[in-house]
């Protein structure tokens, strides 16, 4: 039985050249350096360092509690590391942060989805995805209240962009439905749509396929790969399904008890003894 990624990657007529990833992937655009984070007595991350290259698909894996979500939260600015920095290439310049706000991360082109979805339950699908355009909507309070020319035009312009994302994710039928009423798989798609609406350079995906059946996983894989291919978005994803990770990722970071224990291509990581020990629970 083909894994979801295989089914997507090898439809007829689409060659699979081994060198394609190398052509596609660019320079390093983000680097995590020596990040450590502890909550009270619990150590979430310990001296983690890795980098992310442009247009690559970077996976972060590890057993439960390894600190993966915390890592994304640090990159995003939701948590501030006790030690270490995040460096992001923005506007041709390297910027270093250890206490970035989520808003700063967003304005540098970092978007993310959440493990527990975190959609705005009081709004429809369309409205949720429109919020993803928040950084680009500029009209003043007064202009919005009066809904005069520029405000109306802006609304329509962004609506067009959002509709294209809705088409891309194939959720047209649900655009006016309150998100709380949608099934879990569709909610995850809306979460992705909201992140894509920001036209991000780096997309952080926190377990995008958790709780999905095979068909839903295939669809989600397709969307992620298309976003990476067509839009050139760099993807950093946390995922538990090893089949998916090994197939769609270019490089993998493995965390265990907050520490990085492996970093390399899927094949290298798969063969790494420390990784095998961590997953099989051998004492280490």
């Amino acid at each position: 039985m083909a894994t979801p990624a295989e089914a997507v990657r090898a439809p007829a007529g689409r060659p699979e050249p081994a060198s394609a990833p190398q052509r596609r992937i660019g320079e390093v655009i983000m680097a995590v350096e020596g990040v450590s984070l502890a909550f009270g007595g619990v150590r979430a991350l310990a001296e983690v360092s890795f980098d992310v290259r442009e247009r690559e698909v970077r996976a972060i894996i590890g057993p439960n509690g390894a600190g993966k979500s915390s890592m994304l939260n640090v990159i995003n600015g939701v948590y501030h590391p006790d030690r270490g920095t995040i460096r992001i290439l923005h506007g041709g310049q390297w910027r270093e942060y250890h206490d970035m706000k989520p808003h700063d991360a967003a304005s540098m082109g970092v978007a993310r989805t959440f493990q527990n979805i975190a959609l705005f339950k009081g709004m429809t699908v369309l409205e949720n995805i429109m919020t993803g355009r928040a950084l680009r909507m500029r009209s003043s309070l007064l202009a919005q209240a009066l809904r005069i020319g520029p405000a109306e035009r802006e609304e329509i312009e962004h609506r067009e962009k959002v509709e294209r994302i809705i088409d891309f994710l194939e959720i047209q039928a649900h655009r006016k439905t309150p998100v709380g009423r949608l099934p879990y798989g569709l909610q995850k798609r809306v979460d992705l749509g909201r992140a894509l609406a920001a036209e991000p350079r780096i997309l952080l995906l926190d377990e995008p396929m958790a709780g999905m059946n095979l068909e839903e996983k295939q669809d989600m894989c397709r969307f992620i790969l298309d976003a990476n291919d067509q839009l050139g978005t760099t993807i950093v994803l946390i995922e538990h399904d090893m089949g998916v990770v090994m197939d769609i990722s270019d490089r993998v970071v493995v965390l265990d008890y907050g520490r990085k224990i492996a970093d390399g291509s899927p094949d290298e990581v798969r063969a790494n003894q420390a990784v095998i020990d961590a997953y099989l629970g051998a004492s280490h």
Partner: protein, 354 residues
């Protein structure tokens, strides 16, 4: 089968995004507005205007204001009458000291001053939420109560602490009769409702709702919490400031410092709970409810033939208010507006059962 969207296809985003996209809704609303302007002034009695329609319109305006903050942006406030007070006293002082100003300008300026004060008292919302914020807004209420009672400049050094205003004059048109006041208020209310609707369906409205639903996720997307919350406080206080000025000038005529006390703040909150939080229509429902209920209760002993003292009636009012709040919170937390929406859904299917 009256209420159907069949055949109503939208061919542009603009058409899809308008305030009342369904034709039947639009027709109904226009009919309502026309009736309100043309029919009511000739049909209703003075008593109806003074004790029902005029307070209803002004309180609906204040309720919209509070709803923007509490219902749409999720920031609780139990001291909002303080901003009505700011608006009222600001308008009083402006009209007193710069008599050349047009009343509309006075209203807008009073609203802006209230907005500034609102932003100031909204600053705590950047750090605290929920019940903590509720106590902070109480601070606004009691402090403003005290300021307007003690700082004599605001009441123009009046001995009793009360102020009184002359009838409003607008471009040579004096608002003497209840009908004239009603028409003016109706016009003001319609304008402000449209403005509120526009804000709510624009990106600031979405930013408010995102902050309400999940503020961490909202921040991650790039919505600045400070901007969202303070703008909500500002707009909300603006609306309440204008409402306060109207309340003082047009409804009361003269008032003492405690006219905008905690009781009024709680009434506003009850209006939006019963009417429906996060719904402009709900603000109207809630205001109507809160205005009508005491009048009904006052007539109740007469209808039932049972004698009751006024004190007993006011106790009963308290009990019924309290019970209704709890009832609505349990049964329909989205208030009368949700019941209305459900009714419309059923109407769509009518006369079919499903």
């Amino acid at each position: 089968m009256l209420y159907r969207e069949n055949g109503q296809f939208k061919t542009s985003y603009r058409a899809d995004q308008q305030i009342l996209p369904i034709v039947q809704d639009r027709v109904l609303m226009i009919a309502l507005v026309v009736a309100a302007f043309v029919v009511v002034p000739f049909v209703a009695s003075d008593y109806l205007f003074l004790s029902l329609l005029i307070p209803f319109l002004i309180l609906a305006l204040a309720a919209i204001g509070l709803n923007l903050l509490v219902g749409y942006c999720g920031q609780i406030s139990i001291g909002h009458a303080a901003f009505m007070a700011v608006g009222a006293y600001a308008a009083y002082n402006l009209a007193l000291r710069i008599p050349q100003l047009n009343f509309l300008v006075v209203l807008i300026l009073a609203g802006l001053i209230a907005a500034a004060v609102g932003m100031l008292f909204g600053i705590p919302s950047l750090r605290i939420k929920g019940l903590y914020l509720a106590v902070a807004t109480l601070a606004a209420q009691f402090f403003m109560d005290w300021v307007f009672a003690r700082v004599k400049w605001f009441t123009n050094y009046s001995h009793s602490g009360s102020v009184s205003t002359a009838p409003v004059e607008l471009f040579g048109w004096r608002l003497d009769t209840p009908q004239e006041k009603y028409v003016f208020l109706l016009a003001v209310l319609i304008v402000f409702t449209i403005l509120a609707k526009n804000l709510v369906r624009g990106h600031i409205g979405r930013a408010w709702m995102a902050t309400r639903d999940m503020d961490v996720a909202a921040e991650v997307i790039g919505i600045r919490p400070m901007y969202a919350k303070l703008s909500a406080f500002a707009v909300s206080a603006f609306y309440c400031g204008v409402a306060g000025a109207l309340w003082g000038f047009i409804h009361l005529g003269s008032w003492e410092p405690l006219a905008f006390n905690l009781f009024l703040s709680l009434n506003l909150l009850f209006m939006i709970i019963i009417g429906g939080m996060g719904s402009i229509l709900g603000s109207y429902f809630g205001a109507a409810f809160i205005v009508i209920l005491p009048i009904v209760l006052n007539q109740l002993p007469h209808w039932l033939g049972v004698p009751m003292s006024t004190a007993m009636i006011s106790h009963l009012e308290f009990m019924i208010f309290g019970a209704l709040i709890i009832f609505f919170l349990i049964v329909e937390p989205h208030g009368l507006a949700r019941l209305w929406a459900i009714g419309k859904e059923k109407l769509r299917l009518w006369p079919f059962p499903h």
